[in-house]
């Protein structure tokens, strides 16, 4: 498979913050049109990876190509082709839904009849037609999440980077969000982070499991389950084979006390 088939190509990506390495050499590639799920415990580097890919943070070293553009060298062009939803789904609360989406469309160069057409499409896609004249600050968390998601789809990005899109939603809203992702254009690629194994199982064709800033696994859910079963049949207690594989890959290292020393773990 050539580079042209890849929507996201990441090579030895590192991101260092003062006092910690958030990403310690991450490499993976996601084909066009695929959905990838980013799993990992808190602090494993999921959000940092998405922020680097979205062009919000610069990598310390390594390369990341998103939608055919280098996120460092061709940052503006890359950002034009990305729809990014950050973890807290920040919005201008004093604006009305329609106004906010118009503003977001304008940032991506949409205007006139094209913008109006895209507005109608995303309002319908995210079922926001009834609240488009409502002030965002007066909406529930679920509606706000949908507004943020609608803004991501507005400029028809090639790649959607979503940080916990179903994180704070109730089951019905989370299902609505999953449906939105399923009904996207087939050419659009999605990489989303989640703590929900169920979301990953239901949506993703590719799984990237991060642990302490490094890639613990990168494969399809079926391959991952098979390889983990083969490697260790006595997997931890879990609700699903995928969850068992996840728990195995992200388990903290076992601390063994050495009785010959003063009790310090070795």
């Amino acid at each position: 498979m050539g580079e042209g088939h890849l929507a996201i190509s990441v090579e030895n990506l590192k991101r260092r913050f003062p006092g910690c390495d958030a990403l310690g050499g991450v490499s993976f590639a996601l084909p066009r049109g695929a959905i990838g799920a980013l799993l990992g415990p808190n602090g494993s580097g999921k959000t940092t990876l998405l922020r680097v890919l979205a062009g919000v943070l610069a990598p310390t070293s390594g390369h990341a190509i998103v939608a055919g553009q280098d996120v460092t060298q061709q940052s503006l062009e890359a950002r034009r082709r990305i729809g990014y939803l950050s973890e807290t789904a920040p919005l201008y609360l004093e604006m009305r839904v329609g106004e906010y989406l118009t503003f977001r469309g304008g940032l991506y160069g949409l205007s006139g009849s094209h913008l109006a057409k895209r507005l109608r499409t995303v309002l319908e896609l995210c079922q926001l037609g009834d609240v488009q004249r409502r002030v965002i600050g007066l909406l529930s968390r679920g509606f706000r999440q949908r507004v943020a998601l609608a803004a991501c789809f507005l400029h028809e990005p090639d790649v959607l980077l979503l940080d916990e899109p179903t994180g704070a939603l109730d089951p019905a809203q989370a299902q609505a969000c999953r449906n939105i992702l399923r009904t996207r254009s087939p050419s659009q690629t999605v990489l989303f982070s989640t703590h929900s194994i169920r979301d990953a199982e239901q949506l993703a064709q590719h799984l990237l499991i991060l642990n302490a800033g490094r890639v613990a696994a990168w494969s399809s859910p079926a391959d991952l389950i098979q390889s983990m079963r083969a490697a260790d049949p006595g997997s931890p207690v879990a609700h699903s084979p995928l969850e068992a594989a996840y728990l195995q890959l992200t388990a903290p290292p076992v601390m063994v006390r050495d009785p010959t020393t003063s009790g310090q773990p070795s």
């Binding site: 913050f17 922020r51 979205a54 062009g55 919000v56 943070l57 610069a58 503006l76 062009e77 950002r79 034009r80 990305i82 990014y84 950050s86 807290t88 920040p90 919005l91 201008y92 609360l93 004093e94 604006m95 503003f103 977001r104 304008g106 940032l107 991506y108 160069g109 205007s111 803004a151």
Partner: protein, 247 residues
Amino acid sequence: MKIFFHIWWREVSAYFRTSMAYVTGFFFLAVAGFGFWNATARWAQAPSPGHFANGLFGSVWYWLAMLVVTPLLAMRLFAEENRTGTLETLLAAPVTETTIVLAKFASAFSLFLLLWAPTLAYGFLLRHCGAQYPAMPWGWVAAGYFGTALVGAFFLAIALFCSLWTRHQMAAAMAGLGALGILLALGFIPVHASGIWSCVAQAAAPTRHMQDFAAGIVDTRHLIWYVSATALVLFMTIRVLEARRLR
């Protein structure tokens, strides 16, 4: 350019969506109105053009309005975006940091000019008040407004820079107030004081510059100083915002 106006318009309309524009406007017009009343009273006692223009553009009321209003206008621009996380949305969009900073600055400057606009009525008010006042020194007043725009732009650039460093609007306002207070304090260094710092302080003191503007003098040195100082502070703001991606 289209995106610049897009962000500018959002920022300007945001002032009016919250109580910010109205509270700031009320405070400003109250203080400016009192300054005008004071200037008029002094002018009636000693009718010289200098008395009127100095009363309008060099009084304590004038500097109080400038000192308080500019941090109030700029405090929200970045601090609120830092607090709510919406700055990340802007940084993820195909918009340069230069466009973001200049659009935000332009929105605050637009509102600043809008606040000053009603004070243009003062002159017309006096003109139709009767014969007890001498002819309005229009040239002096025009130079005063020009100087006010220059000083206001510089003050807003400083307050905007302060807003970038915090998540709290009040902290941004206090930092802006402190920085501008120090700048204004330069004007209180005695003219006869010697030494390089005294010379620098006198050259940079807005109160001294406004004395010239209020006397109808548009000195090119003042013009260059304010344009270049404003540009420098805005440049620093852009660079700090760019550095956010590296932090």
